[in-house]
Symmetry: C2
Subunit: 106 residues, 2 copies
DNA sequence: AAACTAAGTTACGAATTGTAAGCAAAAAAA
DNA sequence: TTTTTTTGCTTACAATTCGTAACTTAGTTT
Protein backbone atom coordinates (compact mmCIF):
# COMPACT_ATOMS: atom_id res chain seq x y z
CA UNK A 1 0.00 0.00 0.00
CA UNK A 2 2.90 2.35 0.71
CA UNK A 3 4.31 4.42 -2.10
CA UNK A 4 7.87 5.11 -3.08
CA UNK A 5 10.37 6.67 -0.76
CA UNK A 6 12.81 7.56 -3.49
CA UNK A 7 15.01 10.58 -2.94
CA UNK A 8 13.34 13.56 -4.62
CA UNK A 9 16.64 14.82 -5.98
CA UNK A 10 17.31 11.51 -7.63
CA UNK A 11 13.81 11.50 -9.05
CA UNK A 12 14.28 14.98 -10.42
CA UNK A 13 17.59 13.97 -11.95
CA UNK A 14 15.84 11.13 -13.73
CA UNK A 15 13.10 13.45 -14.91
CA UNK A 16 15.69 15.70 -16.52
CA UNK A 17 18.06 13.08 -17.87
CA UNK A 18 15.36 10.76 -19.15
CA UNK A 19 13.58 13.47 -21.03
CA UNK A 20 14.03 12.61 -24.67
CA UNK A 21 17.11 14.17 -26.34
CA UNK A 22 18.50 15.64 -23.14
CA UNK A 23 21.31 13.18 -22.51
CA UNK A 24 22.29 13.15 -26.17
CA UNK A 25 22.32 16.93 -26.11
CA UNK A 26 24.52 17.01 -23.05
CA UNK A 27 26.75 14.40 -24.64
CA UNK A 28 27.09 16.56 -27.71
CA UNK A 29 27.93 19.62 -25.62
CA UNK A 30 30.68 17.76 -23.80
CA UNK A 31 32.76 18.55 -26.91
CA UNK A 32 32.64 22.19 -25.91
CA UNK A 33 30.58 25.29 -26.67
CA UNK A 34 28.52 25.06 -29.83
CA UNK A 35 26.05 27.06 -31.80
CA UNK A 36 22.44 26.17 -32.34
CA UNK A 37 22.91 25.16 -35.95
CA UNK A 38 25.90 22.97 -35.18
CA UNK A 39 23.96 21.03 -32.60
CA UNK A 40 20.99 20.74 -34.91
CA UNK A 41 23.14 19.36 -37.71
CA UNK A 42 24.97 16.91 -35.50
CA UNK A 43 21.97 15.36 -33.81
CA UNK A 44 18.92 14.47 -35.82
CA UNK A 45 16.59 16.74 -33.93
CA UNK A 46 13.95 19.16 -35.13
CA UNK A 47 14.36 22.83 -34.35
CA UNK A 48 11.11 22.91 -32.43
CA UNK A 49 12.25 20.27 -29.96
CA UNK A 50 15.85 21.50 -29.89
CA UNK A 51 14.79 24.96 -28.81
CA UNK A 52 12.46 23.46 -26.20
CA UNK A 53 15.16 21.22 -24.73
CA UNK A 54 17.83 23.90 -24.68
CA UNK A 55 15.44 26.14 -22.77
CA UNK A 56 14.70 23.35 -20.33
CA UNK A 57 18.40 22.63 -19.77
CA UNK A 58 18.99 26.33 -19.41
CA UNK A 59 16.41 26.72 -16.66
CA UNK A 60 17.90 23.65 -14.99
CA UNK A 61 21.25 25.45 -15.13
CA UNK A 62 22.82 22.63 -17.04
CA UNK A 63 23.32 24.67 -20.17
CA UNK A 64 24.33 28.29 -20.59
CA UNK A 65 23.16 30.36 -23.54
CA UNK A 66 25.35 33.24 -24.54
CA UNK A 67 24.87 35.85 -27.22
CA UNK A 68 28.26 36.59 -28.67
CA UNK A 69 28.23 40.24 -29.82
CA UNK A 70 30.55 39.75 -32.74
CA UNK A 71 29.72 40.57 -36.34
CA UNK A 72 27.64 38.71 -37.07
CA UNK A 73 26.16 38.09 -33.66
CA UNK A 74 25.83 34.43 -32.83
CA UNK A 75 24.48 32.30 -30.06
CA UNK A 76 26.60 29.86 -28.18
CA UNK A 77 25.42 27.02 -26.01
CA UNK A 78 27.71 25.42 -23.48
CA UNK A 79 27.54 23.23 -20.42
CA UNK A 80 27.75 24.80 -17.01
CA UNK A 81 29.76 23.19 -14.23
CA UNK A 82 26.60 21.36 -13.24
CA UNK A 83 26.29 20.21 -16.81
CA UNK A 84 29.84 18.97 -17.10
CA UNK A 85 29.30 17.08 -13.86
CA UNK A 86 26.96 14.77 -15.78
CA UNK A 87 29.90 13.38 -17.74
CA UNK A 88 30.38 10.38 -15.40
CA UNK A 89 26.79 9.33 -16.09
CA UNK A 90 27.46 9.36 -19.81
CA UNK A 91 30.71 7.51 -19.26
CA UNK A 92 28.86 4.83 -17.32
CA UNK A 93 26.32 4.46 -20.10
CA UNK A 94 29.10 4.25 -22.67
CA UNK A 95 30.79 1.59 -20.61
CA UNK A 96 27.63 -0.44 -20.21
CA UNK A 97 26.70 -0.14 -23.87
CA UNK A 98 30.12 -1.24 -25.06
CA UNK A 99 29.98 -4.26 -22.81
CA UNK A 100 26.35 -5.30 -23.11
CA UNK A 101 24.41 -3.66 -25.87
CA UNK A 102 24.21 -5.44 -29.18
CA UNK A 103 22.87 -4.03 -32.36
CA UNK A 104 20.96 -6.47 -34.46
CA UNK A 105 21.99 -6.06 -38.05
CA UNK A 106 20.66 -8.55 -40.56
CA UNK B 1 26.19 19.11 -43.38
CA UNK B 2 27.53 15.88 -41.92
CA UNK B 3 25.41 13.97 -39.46
CA UNK B 4 26.33 12.36 -36.20
CA UNK B 5 28.95 9.69 -35.90
CA UNK B 6 27.82 8.52 -32.51
CA UNK B 7 28.40 4.88 -31.63
CA UNK B 8 25.20 2.97 -32.42
CA UNK B 9 25.49 0.91 -29.24
CA UNK B 10 25.66 4.04 -27.17
CA UNK B 11 22.71 5.47 -29.04
CA UNK B 12 20.72 2.32 -28.45
CA UNK B 13 21.63 2.39 -24.76
CA UNK B 14 20.26 5.91 -24.57
CA UNK B 15 17.10 4.87 -26.39
CA UNK B 16 16.47 2.20 -23.79
CA UNK B 17 17.57 4.06 -20.68
CA UNK B 18 15.92 7.33 -21.60
CA UNK B 19 12.59 5.75 -22.32
CA UNK B 20 10.26 6.98 -19.65
CA UNK B 21 10.08 4.80 -16.52
CA UNK B 22 12.83 2.44 -17.60
CA UNK B 23 15.62 3.68 -15.35
CA UNK B 24 13.29 3.98 -12.40
CA UNK B 25 12.10 0.45 -13.04
CA UNK B 26 15.64 -0.86 -13.19
CA UNK B 27 16.44 1.08 -10.04
CA UNK B 28 13.50 -0.52 -8.31
CA UNK B 29 14.57 -3.99 -9.42
CA UNK B 30 18.07 -3.47 -8.05
CA UNK B 31 16.46 -4.36 -4.72
CA UNK B 32 15.98 -7.89 -6.04
CA UNK B 33 13.26 -9.95 -7.70
CA UNK B 34 9.79 -8.53 -7.35
CA UNK B 35 6.27 -9.25 -8.43
CA UNK B 36 4.23 -7.12 -10.75
CA UNK B 37 1.99 -5.74 -8.04
CA UNK B 38 4.90 -4.81 -5.81
CA UNK B 39 6.53 -2.80 -8.55
CA UNK B 40 3.25 -1.16 -9.43
CA UNK B 41 2.66 -0.11 -5.84
CA UNK B 42 6.17 1.18 -5.31
CA UNK B 43 6.41 3.32 -8.41
CA UNK B 44 3.50 5.46 -9.40
CA UNK B 45 2.99 3.83 -12.74
CA UNK B 46 -0.14 2.66 -14.51
CA UNK B 47 -0.54 -1.02 -15.31
CA UNK B 48 -0.77 -0.30 -19.00
CA UNK B 49 2.61 1.36 -19.14
CA UNK B 50 4.18 -0.98 -16.59
CA UNK B 51 3.33 -4.02 -18.67
CA UNK B 52 4.63 -2.29 -21.78
CA UNK B 53 7.95 -1.35 -20.20
CA UNK B 54 8.50 -4.73 -18.60
CA UNK B 55 8.01 -6.34 -21.99
CA UNK B 56 10.44 -3.91 -23.55
CA UNK B 57 13.08 -4.57 -20.90
CA UNK B 58 12.45 -8.27 -21.29
CA UNK B 59 13.08 -8.21 -25.02
CA UNK B 60 16.20 -6.17 -24.34
CA UNK B 61 17.29 -8.94 -21.97
CA UNK B 62 17.57 -6.53 -19.10
CA UNK B 63 14.70 -8.06 -17.17
CA UNK B 64 13.70 -11.68 -16.75
CA UNK B 65 10.08 -12.68 -16.23
CA UNK B 66 9.49 -15.94 -14.42
CA UNK B 67 6.24 -17.72 -13.66
CA UNK B 68 6.58 -19.30 -10.25
CA UNK B 69 4.41 -22.45 -10.25
CA UNK B 70 3.34 -22.24 -6.65
CA UNK B 71 -0.27 -22.14 -5.47
CA UNK B 72 -1.27 -19.57 -6.38
CA UNK B 73 1.01 -19.07 -9.33
CA UNK B 74 2.80 -15.76 -9.33
CA UNK B 75 5.03 -13.81 -11.62
CA UNK B 76 8.43 -12.59 -10.68
CA UNK B 77 10.46 -9.94 -12.41
CA UNK B 78 14.18 -9.64 -11.89
CA UNK B 79 17.21 -8.07 -13.49
CA UNK B 80 19.48 -10.17 -15.65
CA UNK B 81 23.25 -9.82 -15.47
CA UNK B 82 22.96 -7.24 -18.23
CA UNK B 83 20.36 -5.48 -16.11
CA UNK B 84 22.45 -5.44 -12.96
CA UNK B 85 25.32 -4.06 -15.02
CA UNK B 86 23.34 -0.82 -15.30
CA UNK B 87 23.83 -0.16 -11.58
CA UNK B 88 26.91 2.06 -12.10
CA UNK B 89 24.82 4.34 -14.31
CA UNK B 90 22.25 4.71 -11.56
CA UNK B 91 25.02 5.28 -9.04
CA UNK B 92 26.43 8.05 -11.21
CA UNK B 93 23.04 9.69 -11.46
CA UNK B 94 22.57 9.42 -7.70
CA UNK B 95 25.97 10.99 -7.18
CA UNK B 96 25.27 13.83 -9.54
CA UNK B 97 21.83 14.48 -8.11
CA UNK B 98 23.08 14.59 -4.54
CA UNK B 99 25.75 17.05 -5.50
CA UNK B 100 23.97 19.27 -7.97
CA UNK B 101 20.22 18.85 -8.10
CA UNK B 102 18.13 21.15 -5.97
CA UNK B 103 14.47 20.83 -5.34
CA UNK B 104 12.65 24.09 -5.18
CA UNK B 105 10.24 24.05 -2.30
CA UNK B 106 8.43 27.24 -1.47
C1' DA C 1 -21.97 -17.01 -2.80
C1' DA C 2 -19.66 -12.33 -2.49
C1' DA C 3 -15.79 -9.82 -2.45
C1' DC C 4 -10.91 -9.49 -3.25
C1' DT C 5 -6.16 -9.95 -5.30
C1' DA C 6 -2.92 -10.77 -9.10
C1' DA C 7 -1.53 -9.80 -13.60
C1' DG C 8 -2.67 -8.03 -17.00
C1' DT C 9 -5.79 -5.90 -21.42
C1' DT C 10 -8.79 -2.47 -23.76
C1' DA C 11 -10.70 1.95 -24.96
C1' DC C 12 -10.07 6.57 -25.16
C1' DG C 13 -8.83 11.42 -24.11
C1' DA C 14 -4.73 14.23 -23.03
C1' DA C 15 -0.07 15.38 -23.52
C1' DT C 16 4.21 15.06 -26.08
C1' DT C 17 6.70 14.62 -30.57
C1' DG C 18 7.86 15.05 -35.18
C1' DT C 19 7.18 17.42 -39.72
C1' DA C 20 7.02 21.08 -42.39
C1' DA C 21 6.60 25.55 -43.35
C1' DG C 22 7.33 30.40 -42.13
C1' DC C 23 9.93 34.49 -40.41
C1' DA C 24 13.10 38.53 -39.40
C1' DA C 25 17.70 39.95 -39.62
C1' DA C 26 21.97 39.69 -41.53
C1' DA C 27 25.36 38.12 -45.00
C1' DA C 28 26.98 36.13 -49.10
C1' DA C 29 26.25 35.42 -54.02
C1' DA C 30 24.96 36.91 -58.47
C1' DT D 1 21.92 46.01 -55.94
C1' DT D 2 18.69 42.57 -56.18
C1' DT D 3 18.47 37.56 -55.01
C1' DT D 4 19.56 33.80 -52.31
C1' DT D 5 21.26 31.72 -48.12
C1' DT D 6 22.09 31.24 -43.26
C1' DT D 7 20.91 31.66 -38.45
C1' DG D 8 18.00 31.02 -34.66
C1' DC D 9 14.10 30.44 -33.86
C1' DT D 10 8.23 30.12 -33.93
C1' DT D 11 3.74 28.30 -35.53
C1' DA D 12 0.39 25.01 -37.15
C1' DC D 13 -0.86 20.55 -37.40
C1' DA D 14 -0.50 15.40 -37.75
C1' DA D 15 1.27 11.23 -35.53
C1' DT D 16 2.80 8.96 -31.44
C1' DT D 17 2.88 8.07 -26.71
C1' DC D 18 0.91 8.38 -22.10
C1' DG D 19 -2.27 8.29 -18.30
C1' DT D 20 -6.91 7.07 -16.53
C1' DA D 21 -10.24 4.15 -15.71
C1' DA D 22 -12.83 0.34 -16.44
C1' DC D 23 -12.81 -4.61 -17.46
C1' DT D 24 -11.04 -9.60 -17.51
C1' DT D 25 -9.79 -14.30 -16.02
C1' DA D 26 -8.40 -17.20 -12.61
C1' DG D 27 -7.70 -18.32 -8.15
C1' DT D 28 -8.95 -16.99 -2.73
C1' DT D 29 -10.34 -15.55 1.28
C1' DT D 30 -14.84 -14.52 4.10
Amino acid sequence: MDQKNICPRFEKALMILNHRWNTLLIYQLLDGPQRYSTIKNQLNISSRVLTERLKELETEQIVLRTVIPSTPVFIEYELTEKGYAIAPVLKAIEQWSSEWVTIDIE
